[in-house]
Each structure stands twice: as structure tokens, then as C-alpha cells.
Symmetry: D2
């Protein structure tokens, strides 16, 4: 076997090499840094060709192949890329982050070392109001005046917590115990390593408008400033086929089909038949699922028959 003809040089992405190690700032004192990576768009194509034995090779074909894989949820080739980030995140946000299990993690240990002396602070205009419709979300902001008072109180509380922590350390309390009353907003740091498929999953969930603002901000930085330059073809395909996807259930397919065929009245009837719309005392009452369908129809520029 003439082994020379199989020689490879390592895949590299100059755009990512140029930013290696540089902190991308997030929130008031957080950051994301790319420490290392493996693979590129090309590696995904290469892996898919091992599986599928595809012979085509032009750049256009690479793009088509990646789009095909994304569209059809052929996820394993995307697992062939890996990235390692160094992040600085409020613990409260990290609690959500760490729920993504398929990743490798080394977190800064506050058993071993003193807790990082930094907590995430809210600006006076940064206090979000509890959402009415979505019990786990927020919408709108508190007025400046009350916001200012809350931010002042927040600073006072965070300083007090730190003072108590420092005091415990001073009298010799073990670090593992002294930290117990630090606020959740205290920053932590970690090395976080994950493959591209699972990273896209993370971004899909955390860049969503329903994700909490803080982790969404991190996800946006990772998506737009890291994944996009790293694997541009994959990022484009992810946007088109995963992130902005509309999913239609069996019932929704039926209703949309009727609307598209110009049968608005029948569509309305079907919506009533399956309980999406009920006639209440004060007019039609729509189910949660019905309102989700309306959102989809509006996104597609369609009229909703039962709202006319």
C-alpha cells in the first residue's frame, strides 16, 4: 500500500484561527472564547461520503450535500466536528447550560479556589416583567424609576453576600461551605467541548425567542460569531432548514390544505370539528393549539378563516 498518497494535512479554518483565544464579550462581565476546534464544513461532507459513498466533489455540490443532510436530519456527519469554548457565565445561566448532557465540561471549582469576585448586575432599564400568556417567560420592562431602585438594591445585596463570603473565608471556613450563600448571579467559568450536531441543538433551543434572555445572548454570540465563520455552509443550512422551520401536524396540514384550495368555510368547519375553535358566549374561543396555528399562518402570509 503506497501510504504516501493517503497523506493528509489537518483541516483548518483561517477565520476561526484568527480569533482563537480572543474573548467575545457577553452580558456585563461574561465572555466566550474559542480555545480549539476540529473539522469544518469539508469534514462533514467527507464523513457523509464515507457513509453514502458519494463521489461528487465541486463546491456547489458540497453546499447541496450539507443542505440535504440538514433537511433530512442526517445528523451523524455533523458530529464529526468538535469545538472547545472557554466561557464565563452567571451560575444561574450555567444551570440551564449544563442541562445539555452530550458535552464535555471542566468547570472552575469553588471548592478548590476562591469564588470569582463578580456577579451579573442588572441595569435600571433591564428589569423584565412576567409574561401574561407564557407562564415561564417575560415581556416588557419595568419603568426606569422602579428599575433604578431594584438595581440599587441588587448591588447592595450582592455586596453583602460577598462580604459574608469573605468573612467566612477569613475565619477559616472551608471554601466548599463558605460559598453556600453566594447569589446565583455569581460568575463561574468553564471549558465546554461539544460536537457540532449537539451544538446546533443547543443553539436551536437557546436562540429561540422563548429562551431566557441571558442564555439567549450567549447562544447568539456562539451562533453568529463562532459557528457562522467556522462552518458557513452548515450555518446557512441550519437557518433555512432547522431554525426557522414551520412544523405542521396532521390536523394543521388538513386545515392549510383547505385554505390553500380556497375553501375557507370548510377550513373553519374543520377547525371547529377538532376543537380548535369553540363558539363561546362572547364569540369564538380558540385553543392554545389553534393560536399556534394562527401564528404559523401569519408567518406564511395566510389569512385565518375564523378570524375574518
Amino acid at each position: 500500500m503506497n501510504s504516501e498518497k493517503y497523506r493528509l494535512t489537518r483541516t483548518s479554518v483561517p477565520a476561526l484561527d484568527a480569533m482563537l483565544g480572543r474573548p467575545l464579550p457577553v452580558l456585563d462581565q461574561g465572555f466566550v472564547r474559542v480555545i480549539d476546534y476540529m473539522g469544518s464544513d469539508e469534514s462533514i461532507v467527507q464523513a457523509a461520503r464515507v457513509s453514502y459513498g458519494l463521489g461528487t466533489k465541486t463546491v456547489q455540490d458540497d453546499r447541496e450535500l450539507i443542505r440535504y443532510l440538514m433537511r433530512h436530519s442526517h445528523t451523524s456527519p455533523f458530529e464529526m466536528c468538535e469545538i472547545k469554548l472557554h466561557v464565563r457565565v452567571p451560575m444561574d445561566c450555567w444551570r440551564q447550560w449544563i442541562r445539555h448532557r452530550t458535552a464535555n465540561v471542566n468547570e472552575y471549582s469553588t471548592r478548590y479556589s476562591l469564588a470569582i469576585d463578580a456577579a451579573y448586575a442588572t441595569p435600571p432599564d433591564g428589569w423584565r416583567l412576567q409574561a401574561k400568556r407564557n407562564k415561564q417567560g417575560s415581556e416588557g420592562r419595568l419603568d426606569q424609576a422602579r428599575g433604578k431602585a431594584l438595581s440599587r438594591e441588587e448591588a447592595r445585596l450582592q455586596q453583602y453576600c460577598r462580604k459574608v463570603y469573605d468573612g467566612r473565608i477569613e475565619v477559616g471556613v472551608a471554601r466548599e461551605q463558605a460559598r453556600k450563600d453566594l447569589p446565583l448571579a455569581t460568575y463561574t467559568e468553564a471549558y465546554w467541548k461539544i460536537d457540532l450536531h449537539n451544538l446546533l441543538n443547543f443553539l436551536y433551543l437557546r436562540m429561540d425567542s422563548k429562551a431566557q434572555y441571558e442564555i439567549r445572548t450567549y447562544a447568539e454570540v456562539i451562533g453568529d460569531q463562532v459557528v457562522k465563520p467556522w462552518c458557513p455552509l452548515t450555518w446557512e443550512a441550519f437557518g433555512d432548514y432547522a431554525q426557522h422551520l414551520v412544523r405542521l401536524s396532521s390536523a394543521e396540514q388538513r386545515i392549510l390544505g383547505l385554505v390553500a384550495a380556497g375553501k375557507a368555510a370548510q377550513a373553519r368547519k374543520e377547525a371547529e370539528r377538532i376543537g380548535f375553535v369553540k363558539q363561546g358566549a362572547k364569540g369564538p374561543v380558540r385553543s392554545l393549539e389553534c393560536r399556534e396555528l394562527e401564528d404559523k399562518m401569519k408567518r406564511m402570509g395566510m389569512e385565518v378563516p375564523w378570524l375574518k
Copy 2:
């Protein structure tokens, strides 16, 4: 704490208890047996309520909640159910099965024991033809006459392989080596334990019409005869929101929106603009992605503007 008021009895599903251990036949000599399980539809609801603190309790609400979770890919409550199956499967099929990594497995060891003396045989009318369009699929059947010849030859080959295996064992060759030329169609057995979320993933991929016939047959038995009686509400929601889902990309949303608004000409133009349809010498040439969209439109009873 009055611990008595928290007492529980174990969740059980009588329909599944009644079939415990009974082999459900698959293919010519394969089977699926339910050995044990944990949880039910009710456990999913219970877990979701820990997370979301939901207070509602009627049966109707349980159904709504499960449908909501499925629709929005809130997958973790489905992980709270677990099932253990005993399966007998051709090794060739098992090779695909085992690619689902999030499961626990104990496979029959042909290092330790003699290989099972059974191989999956194809009836004369069971020989499938290579699909033209889908390079990894099949369509149609070979004619009976040639099928008969192939089946005869298959039997001969399988007997020969077994004879060679037995001969090696007889002269004292180690079982781990003697097995090396058994045909892939040889049956193996395994205990396979998996949570419901990952099982639904398996079923989603393997009940799909593009999955290979053999594993699809197992998936259908597991879906229809096991999951359906085990967690009927989840199974119904899976059918409506996952299995028969239509996914629309950004481009597809635009085109469908135009069609639904009665703007067929504009829809056709958009399809051309983005390269779905090209004017070739012998009429319009449609991309692979375009034909996928057409399939979706037909499923929804819509007319395809560029095919009129």
C-alpha cells in the same frame, strides 16, 4: 413530616402486564418480548408537573399536557418511562438497531455460546429490487421465477455456512473465531432497554417508509403492539405531532404562502428564482428539494403551480 401521606403504589399498565413475556413474532423466526417496564402516560404528566408546577388534574388535561409536550419537543418527561425488550433479530438488522446509542444492551454472546442455529430466509416473492431514485432503498419485487431460484440458492448457502461453522467447532476451533463466516442473516438475541423518548426517536426513524423493510417490521410491531397499549396518549400525540409531521423550510413557507393567497404565478416565479425549477431544453427541470416540496403539497391536497 407525615410521611404516610406521600405513600405511592407502583405505576402499572394492565394491558402491558397481560402481555409480559409473550413473544410477538416478527419476520420468519424473530420476535419481540416485553420483559419489564417503568412508568406510563401518567408518569410523564407527573414529571412535567414537577418541572412546570402545573396544577391541573383531569384526564382531559393529561391528554392536553402530553400533546403540548410532544408538540413543543419538551422531551425530558418522556425520558421518565423505561422499557426492556427481549428481541431476536437477524445480525444484519441488529447492525442498524445498535446504532441507536442511548440504550442499554446485553447481547447473546457467540464468543461464549454456540451461535443460534437460525438464519433469516427470504421467500420466493420477497426479493426486492434496487430503487432507481433512492440509491439506498428498494422498490418493487423480483419475479417469482427468479425469486424462487434465489431463495433456493440462499438456503443452500446458509446451510453450507452452518456446516462450515459446525465443522470448525468440531475440530476445536474457538467459538469466537469459528463464527467469522456466518452469514449476516444469522439470528442473534438481546435484551434492549431504552427510555420512551429515545424509543420514539427510534420508531420515528425506523417506521419511516425509507427505513429498510426488516427493521421497519420490528419497529411497527414495537410501535403498534407495545407502545400503543403502554402509553396510549403519548402514542396518539406521537402520530399527530411527530410521525406525520410536515416540515416547511423558509423557502417552502414563502411558496406555500403565495399559493394559499391564490398567487400561483408568483409562487412559480419564486420557485424559479431560488432554483427549485429551471427551464431546461425539454421543459422544466425540478431540483430534488423541489420534488420534496411537491410531495408535501400533494399530501396537503394542494395544487403545484409549476406542474399545471
Copy 3:
């Protein structure tokens, strides 16, 4: 196939059934409750026999087989058992808990619901001092007088944090944001489901004397009050072959071999040759690894040649 002869009834463990749902108290306000389980010692044996085709059946043999599996790290049969716990844990402790990735989790959501109004409090005699030798551990206790002051201050701080949280909620701040300065000691709850193999891994690491006191307390309750009655043969084998194991490196094997052969002088020389013991100005200086070996030798009742 006479399917009746394969009928099974579900595995159950009366000792566990009797305690299902009952809270086992941990720390001041925490608990562990068994919600459901699948399998038993018997299931492990059954799974091993699928793999290894073992034919023996008496109780004595079951015990031997389980001990053999444990001794030789044949872990997959232990994955055939699964348990689901409901736990109430301080968030600080939960941060360590959740690092065990191979488990299914539904945690109480403080985005969705108000944070649990309970924080873990330290009694006056419960303040641990920072360990000297082990940078991430604790040893000894703070004196009562200073402990009393710390506990008073802790109560004040926790009340203040809660007041700030309640105040934010009152003016309409979103729950997801209001929680940001709760102390790490705030209790959370979760459903936690894991297979027995991974649970034993958790217990191995968290029942260790080097684990932090809080999580160790939970691990001890789970080990002694849950796993022991659930799978008594496995628990016994775990104690003998995993938990109290002594591991000997190549170098340690050589030194111990010399000691056992009565060649103390040679053993000392070997320890010097490989850098375990160095002659310093004020007598012998031993490496960290050397002191670890000494601990093992003492546990085995052996004399350490270089300490005589």
C-alpha cells in the same frame, strides 16, 4: 410457538414497594423519595445469562454471578435496573449532582413557578474548616462561639435574599429574573432517573470520604436506605469489590511484593529509586504518591519500611 410458556410477571421487590413515595429526610429540609423502579438482583442475573448463556440457577449461584460481574467490571447487566427518585436538594449540592450526565432529569422550574421558600441552614456547630493538605476539602469544625455568629448572620442573609426576591415578584419582575440573587443554598426539587450501574458510579464518587459533606449525606441515604434493600446482592458486591477497593500501580506492586517477601531494605531502595522518598536536609521527604501508598499499606496492616 406456544407463547404461554414464556409469560412473565413483573419483577418486584417488596422491601422497596413498602417504602415507595415515603420521604427519607436528608439535611435540614431535604429528602429522597423512591417514585418507581424496574428490576432487581434477579434481573441482573437474567441479563448476564442472555449474554453469557450461563445455565446455573440456585440462589448461591446468583450471588456468585453478581460478585463475578462486579469484580470484573462487566457493567452492562447492572444497566438493566432503573430507579426514579424525587429529591429535594440545595442548589449548591444539585450543581454537583447534575454533573453525572447519564441520567434523566426533570427539575422544578423557577422560571415557571415561585422559588421554593427554603434554604439550607448551618447549625452553630456545623461550620467546617478548610483542610490543610487537601485544597478542596474540609477538616475539623469552627468553635461554637464563632459558629453561632456565622449561623446568625447566615439566617439574616437568607431572609434578606428572600425579601429582595419577594419584592421583585411583587412589582411584577419575571420569575426567571427575580431569582437571580437567591443564595445557592436555596432548595430545589427534581425527578432523577438513572440505571443501577450509573447510580453505583455516583455512589462510588459521592460516598467517598473526599466528597463534600452535603452530597455525601444524600449518597449515603440512597446507598444504605434505597440500593441496599432494592438489590442486596449487588450492594454487598459493590462494597467488597468497588467501594473499598485498593488499587495498586505497577510501582506499588513492586514495592509491596518486596515488603511481603521480607525484603524491607530493598523495598526502601526501590521507593527511593523511583522518587517516592527523597533524602532532604531534615530527613526523608515523601511524595504525594508515596503518602497514598502508605495509606494503602496501613489499611492492609503492613509496616512501611521507610517510616521505621
Copy 4:
């Protein structure tokens, strides 16, 4: 934040760069090729320092730190390195390989492409005999004469199988079905990506003398020719602390302690008390566990009291 001072260049290991892509031959027609990698010994140290906040920096310290991590099973820093291999392996061997679940895989698809026209052949002196004591192992070789006959028959069988496969393809049978009677010895190919911690686990199990010869051969090539040049400090520590480890159970510790203290008679009595040694009609009968202890004692150069 002066981001320039955090700039990094990518970790690389010249020894591995030099062999990238080159096939390392294994068995008769198999190979292992390194396609890409991420990290090095240095990355492990770096990750450990994030967790433990360790400040030391000399090369000597790196080695000490890596050895400490290995010795104490602090596995997460080893997960920070990743490697991607291209392997060509008999399917029979791949069946064992793929059981290691924490890896990313793209296997050559014989649904999509024609099966690789190569099967693993056994030389006349390569036929191993079934082990007597270890039911799942082999020991010794078949004599040349009979080996020659078996090898001839093997070639005939493999050719026949291929002829049947080719014949099916020729009449148009789908590739996914035509392959069903290929021998398990048929070669397959895959891209296999795994982190260093899980790779070491794989090597620990598969380089073991009890692992089947074929996969052991692959494991040895990966260990000696890939991991060793890639992460030399880790490889050394793995050899000293993991691979050649002796594990002593509670009972074994007691017995060895007695032997080391020169109390051979007491050691013998203890061995009898716990059932390791029983007095049978024809002299002492030792349990399986007892013989395992004897092996350990011999490795450490110790005399076995009950064998004198």
C-alpha cells in the same frame, strides 16, 4: 478588556501531524488512519487547571499533574482531547467495536454502495482452539495440517458468498437485501471519533489479554502507534495507573496484609474461612476468586501460602 493578550494558536502535535492520513496496516487487509485530532497532553493540563485553579507550570509539573489525574480517576480533563480515525475492520470485529457507545460514527453504507469486496482470511497457522478454563476465550493453535484444510475451505466459502452476492446484484436485487448472506468477516469502513478518556476505556478493555485477538490487534495499533505519540505523558500514566493496575478487594487486602506480616498460616486460615480454599477429597479446592488472587500475588512476586 485587552483581547490581544488572550490570543491563542492552535494546539498541535508534530508527531501526529506527520502521520496524518497514513494507513497503519492491521490484520490482512485492515487499517487505521488518523484523520484529525484536537488537543494534546497540554490541553489536559490546561483543563485541569481551570477546574482546580492550579498555578504550577513546569514540564515536570505537567507530568505530575497528569499522573495525579489518572491515578485518581479525574477523568473529565482527558475528555478535552478528541481524535478522528478512519478504520477498515471485519464486520465481526466492528460488532464489538460499536458497543462503545460514547463515540461518533459514520460507517460505510452497504445499502447505498456495493459491499467492500474483501473478507478477513485466516492463515493455516491462525486457527485458535477453544479455551478450556475461559469459556469465551481461546488458547493454543490448531495443527498446520488441519489449519490448512480449514483455510482452504474458508476461501472457498468466502468466494461462494461473494458470488451469490454479485449474482443477486446482477439480477437487480436491492443492495440492502443482497448483502444479507455476506460472511461476518467481510470488511467494512468507518470514521470513528472519540474523546481521549473514552478511547482509553476502549483500549483498557480491548488491549486486555482476554479481548478477542482481532480487536486486540486494532487496539494495540491505536495505543502504541497513535495515542503514544499523540499524548505521551498520558500514555505513560495510563500504563502505570490503569492498564497494569492490580485491584484488591476487602478480602484480598486482609489476606495480603497477613502474608506481608509474615503470618502465612493465618492467611491460609482466612482464605479457608471465607471459602477461597476448601478441603476436598483430593486436596484443596480453590474458588475462581481464589485463583484470581493467586494470579495477583504471583505478579507481585509473592508466595501463595496455601500452595506451598
